[in-house]
C-alpha cells in the first residue's frame, strides 16, 4: 500500500469505528479497542482491495446516505416518537441548506455580482453555518407548529406538504434571497484546505506532509468523516432523549393524548417541542448537503427526493427505531443508486420497444422505488427493525425475550 491509500484508509476507518462502537457489545474498556481494531482492519482491506473509482463511489454514496440518515432520524423524532405526519421534510431541508450557504458564503463581487444575487454572505465558519441552519429551521418549525399541530394528522400531512411547496416557491422566485431560479454556486467546503496544496496554516508540518498525496477530488474522504460524526452525534442524542422521561412522554402523547394529558403532561407543548426537534435535525441535514454538492438550487428540494424518499427510508427501516432510520436510509439510497445501473442495463431491452422508452429509462427508477414503497406498506408496514416498547436510561438496553414474571 502506498501512502495515499494509508491516508484514505484512516479517513474511511473513522466511520467504521463509529459503527463498530455501536455494534460490538462488550464492556467499554474492551469495546473501544475492539471497535478501533476492527474498523481499521476493514478500512485497510477496503482501500487495498477496491479500485480507486469504486472506493470513491462508495464514499460519495455513504455521504449522501449519511445525509439522508440524518433526515430520516429527524423524521423519526417527529413521526416515530410523537406521530406527526410531516410530509414537508423538503421545506426544512431547503431552509437548512440555504441558511448555512448564506452564512458561510461570501457576497459575489465584480462581474459575478451581475449574475448572482443573494441576501447576505457572512463568510462564517462551517459550524456557525450548521448552527444557523439548525436555529432557523427550528424557528420555522416552531412558527409552523403553532397553527398546524392543532390539526388532525391527515390535515397535518396536507398542510406540511403545502408548506414545503410554499418554501420551495419562495426560494425559486425570490431572486434577492438566494439567487432565485439560478443555483447558488460555490458553497465553501469545511476543512477543504486538507486536500489543497498549501495545506491549512494551522496544521503541523508533519500532518501536512502526510496529507499531501490527497488531491482535490479526494475531498470526499474527510467529508465522509464530518458527516459520519454528525450522524453519530445525532443518533446518540436521539437515543438518549427517546429513553428519557421526555421521550416517554412524547410516546405517551402519540399513543393516547387524553391519558397523557390526564397524567399532567402538557400535550400541546410536547407536540410542538418534538416537531421543532425534528425540524432542527432536518435543518442540520440541509447544512451538510450544501457543501457536499457545492451548488444548490430550489429544484433539489422537490418532494420526490427530499420527502418521499425519506419516508420510504423510515418506513422500511422501522418507524420509532433510530437504528432502523439509519439502516433504511442506507438501504433505500442503495436501491435508488442501484436502480440507476438497472435502468442502464435494461435500456437496450427498452430500445427494442421504442427509442423513446430507452431515453426515458431514468424515470423507471421512480417507478421501482414507488413499487418498493407499496410493497413495504402492504407487507412490512412495521419496517425491518421494530420499535422497542420499553425504554429507559436505567434498564439494560436489550431486554431478555421473556420478562420473568414476579409472583404475586
Amino acid at each position: 500500500m502506498i501512502q495515499e491509500q494509508w491516508v484514505k484508509a484512516i479517513f474511511v476507518a473513522i466511520p467504521l469505528v463509529l459503527i463498530g462502537l455501536r455494534l460490538i457489545r462488550l464492556h467499554w474498556a474492551l469495546r473501544i479497542p475492539a471497535a478501533a481494531a476492527c474498523g481499521f482492519a476493514v478500512a485497510v482491506l477496503l482501500v487495498a482491495m477496491l479500485p480507486t473509482g469504486i472506493l470513491a463511489y462508495l464514499v460519495s454514496f455513504s455521504i449522501m446516505a449519511g445525509i439522508y440518515a440524518i433526515l430520516s432520524l429527524g423524521l423519526n423524532s417527529q413521526w416515530g416518537l410523537t406521530g406527526h405526519l410531516n410530509f414537508g421534510i423538503a421545506g426544512f431541508f431547503a431552509i437548512g441548506a440555504f441558511t448555512s450557504a448564506l452564512f458561510t458564503m461570501s457576497m459575489p463581487t465584480g462581474l459575478l455580482a451581475n449574475y448572482a444575487k443573494q441576501a447576505f454572505g457572512l463568510e462564517m465558519p462551517f459550524l456557525v453555518g450548521v448552527l444557523a441552519a439548525a436555529i432557523v429551521a427550528g424557528l420555522v418549525a416552531f412558527l409552523i407548529a403553532i397553527p398546524v399541530l392543532k390539526l388532525r394528522e391527515d390535515y397535518l400531512a396536507i398542510a406540511t406538504l403545502g408548506i414545503a411547496e410554499v418554501i420551495r416557491l419562495a426560494f425559486q422566485n425570490e431572486r434577492w434571497l438566494a439567487n432565485g431560479p439560478q443555483p447558488l454556486r460555490g458553497i465553501p467546503r469545511p476543512l477543504s484546505c486538507l486536500v489543497e496544496d498549501p495545506a491549512c496554516a494551522w496544521l503541523p508540518d508533519s500532518l501536512a506532509t502526510w496529507l499531501t498525496p490527497l488531491a482535490q477530488r479526494d475531498y470526499i474522504f474527510p467529508y465522509l468523516v464530518i458527516v459520519a460524526v454528525f450522524v453519530a452525534v445525532i443518533y446518540v442524542a436521539l437515543e438518549r432523549i427517546s429513553r428519557s422521561p421526555w421521550g416517554r412522554a412524547l410516546r405517551a402523547v402519540r399513543e393516547e393524548e387524553a391519558s397523557a394529558a390526564m397524567n399532567g403532561k402538557n400535550v400541546a407543548s410536547l407536540r410542538v417541542q418534538s416537531f421543532v426537534v425534528g425540524g432542527v435535525i432536518m435543518g442540520i441535514a440541509g447544512a451538510l448537503y450544501g457543501p457536499y454538492v457545492i451548488s444548490i438550487s430550489y429544484s433539489h428540494f422537490r418532494p420526490l427526493f427530499a420527502t418521499f424518499l425519506v419516508w420510504v427510508m423510515l418506513m422500511l427501516g422501522g418507524s420509532g427505531n433510530n437504528r432502523g432510520a439509519i439502516l433504511g436510509a442506507f438501504i433505500i439510497w442503495g436501491v435508488w443508486s442501484g436502480t440507476a445501473f438497472l435502468a442502464d442495463a435494461i435500456t437496450p431491452l427498452l430500445s427494442l420497444i421504442s427509442d423513446d422508452f430507452a431515453s426515458r429509462s431514468p424515470y423507471l427508477r421512480w417507478m421501482l422505488v414507488a413499487i418498493l414503497l407499496e410493497l413495504i406498506v402492504l407487507y412490512r408496514p412495521k419496517g425491518l427493525l421494530q420499535e422497542q416498547k420499553v425504554v429507559s436510561l436505567f434498564l439494560p438496553r436489550e431486554l431478555p425475550k421473556k420478562v420473568p414474571r414476579t409472583k404475586t
Binding site: F87, D154, A268, L304, L364, V369, V377
Partner: protein
C-alpha cells in the same frame, strides 16, 4: 386566534382520529355562548357566516392591494372571471377527493396524478383521431369531445385498478391512516413515472399553435370561448354528481357508507361495491378536469402535483364529504389564486390558496359545509 387557553382540551377534539363520530368540537361550540363575550366572539368567527365574512374581507383586502398598484379594475374583474373558470376545473378534482375522503377516510395524494393521466389520455386519443373542423367559437373540434368521453372511463378504471391492487388490501388489514396516506403518495409517484415513461418529460399541447382568441364580454371582460365551455361543462358534471348522490340508489349508498360504513353494511349495502363506484366516479371526474385543464394550458407530467394542493384546499375549504362544499371551496380557491396575480408574482398563486386553506383549517376545521366536528 383570540382563544383563551381554557378551551384547549375541547379544541384538541378536532385532532381526534375519527372525525365522523367525534362531537367534542360540536359541544365546545354549543357551550361557547355561556362563557362570556370572548367565547361568543370566538364562536362567531368559527361559524359559517363568520368564515364567509372573513373570506370576503380577504378578497376585499386583495382588491385594495391590487388597486393600490396600477391594475385596472376591469383587469381584476377579468381575473376574477378566470378564477371562476379555474375553480370549475379544480372543482371536478375536489369533488373526487371529497368523495374518496368521505367514503374511505384518507387523503388521496395520488388524485393529482389521476388528473394528469386524464389529460394525457385525452391527448393520446386526440392524436389518433383525425382533426376535425373547429366547433363554432371554440378552439377544439369534435375529437376533443370524443377524447373526453374516452378518457373519463379509462381513468375511472385506472383508479379502480389501483384500489383493487393496493387500497383494498390495506382495508382488509385494517391499516392505519398513515399507511393509506403513504400508499397514495407512492401511487402518485408511480403514476407520474408512468406518464414520464409513456409521454416523456416535454410539454404537450392538444392543438399545437392554434390561435384561441378571447371574446369581449360586457364590462370589458375578456374570456376565451373555451373557458366558458369549461365552466359550463364543469357545472353540468357537478350537477350530475349532485343528482347521482341524491336521487340514485348508488348515490344514497355512497352517502350512507360515508356516514357510517358499519351501519351501511348492516343495512345490506355492499360497501365494497360502493367503494368501487366511488373510485370510478372520482377518477372520471378527475379525467374530465385534467382534459379541460389541458385545453387552456400545456400538459406536463408534474401538472398533477401542481393541481393537487389547490384541489385539497378546495376540498378542505368546503368541508370533507360535501360535494357542494367542494364546488364552493374550489371556486373560492380558483378566484383567489387568479386574483392574487394582480399584485403578486403569479407563481405564488398556489401559496395564497394554500394559506387560505390553513386559515380555514384553524378557524373551522370542518369546512364551510362540513358537519361539525368533521
Amino acid at each position: 386566534m383570540s382563544e383563551p387557553g381554557v378551551d384547549r382540551p375541547a379544541d384538541r377534539g378536532a385532532g381526534a382520529p375519527s372525525p365522523q363520530h367525534d362531537d367534542t368540537d360540536d359541544l365546545a361550540m354549543a357551550e361557547a355562548p355561556r362563557r362570556g363575550a370572548g367565547k361568543r366572539i370566538t364562536a362567531l368567527v368559527h361559524s359559517r357566516v363568520g368564515v364567509i365574512v372573513l373570506v370576503v374581507a380577504i378578497f376585499f383586502a386583495m382588491w385594495l392591494l391590487g388597486g393600490a398598484q396600477p391594475v385596472a379594475t376591469r383587469q381584476l374583474l377579468t381575473l376574477a372571471v378566470w378564477g371562476v373558470m379555474l375553480g370549475g376545473v379544480l372543482a371536478l378534482g375536489s369533488i373526487g377527493l371529497t368523495l374518496i375522503y368521505g367514503v374511505l377516510k384518507f387523503p388521496n395524494f395520488s388524485h393529482g396524478a389521476l388528473v394528469a393521466i386524464g389529460a394525457y389520455t385525452a391527448f393520446a386519443v386526440m392524436a389518433v383521431l383525425p382533426e376535425g373542423p373547429r366547433l363554432g367559437p371554440f378552439s377544439f373540434g369534435w375529437e376533443f369531445l370524443a377524447a373526453l368521453v374516452v378518457a373519463m372511463p379509462v381513468v375511472g378504471l385506472v383508479a379502480l385498478a389501483v384500489d383493487r391492487v393496493i387500497y383494498r388490501r390495506l382495508r382488509n388489514q385494517n391499516a392505519a391512516l398513515v399507511l393509506f396516506a403513504m400508499a397514495s403518495l407512492g401511487m402518485a409517484f408511480f403514476l407520474r413515472s408512468g406518464i414520464y415513461m409513456i409521454w416523456g418529460p416535454d410539454f404537450h399541447f392538444f392543438y399545437q399553435g392554434r390561435p384561441n382568441p378571447a371574446l369581449n364580454l360586457p364590462f370589458n371582460v375578456r374570456v376565451q370561448a373555451d373557458q366558458l365551455f369549461i365552466l359550463a361543462l364543469a357545472l353540468a358534471l357537478v350537477l350530475l354528481v349532485y343528482l347521482l348522490l341524491t336521487r340514485t340508489r348508488m348515490g344514497k349508498a355512497m352517502r350512507a357508507t360515508a356516514d357510517n360504513p358499519q351501519l351501511a353494511q348492516v343495512r345490506g349495502i355492499d360497501t365494497e361495491r360502493v367503494i368501487a363506484w366511488t373510485w370510478v366516479l372520482s377518477g372520471a371526474l378527475a379525467a374530465a378536469g385534467g382534459a379541460m385543464y389541458g385545453l387552456t394550458s400545456q400538459l406536463r407530467p408534474e401538472m398533477g402535483f401542481w393541481l393537487l394542493l389547490p384541489m385539497f384546499a378546495g376540498t378542505i375549504m368546503g368541508g370533507i364529504g360535501s360535494p357542494l362544499g367542494a364546488l364552493v371551496g374550489a371556486m373560492i380557491i380558483g378566484i383567489v389564486t387568479q386574483m392574487s396575480a394582480a399584485f403578486l408574482n403569479p407563481a405564488y398563486g398556489p401559496a395564497i390558496a394554500f394559506i387560505l386553506m390553513i386559515v380555514m383549517l384553524i378557524l373551522r376545521p370542518q369546512g364551510l359545509f362540513g358537519k361539525p366536528g368533521g
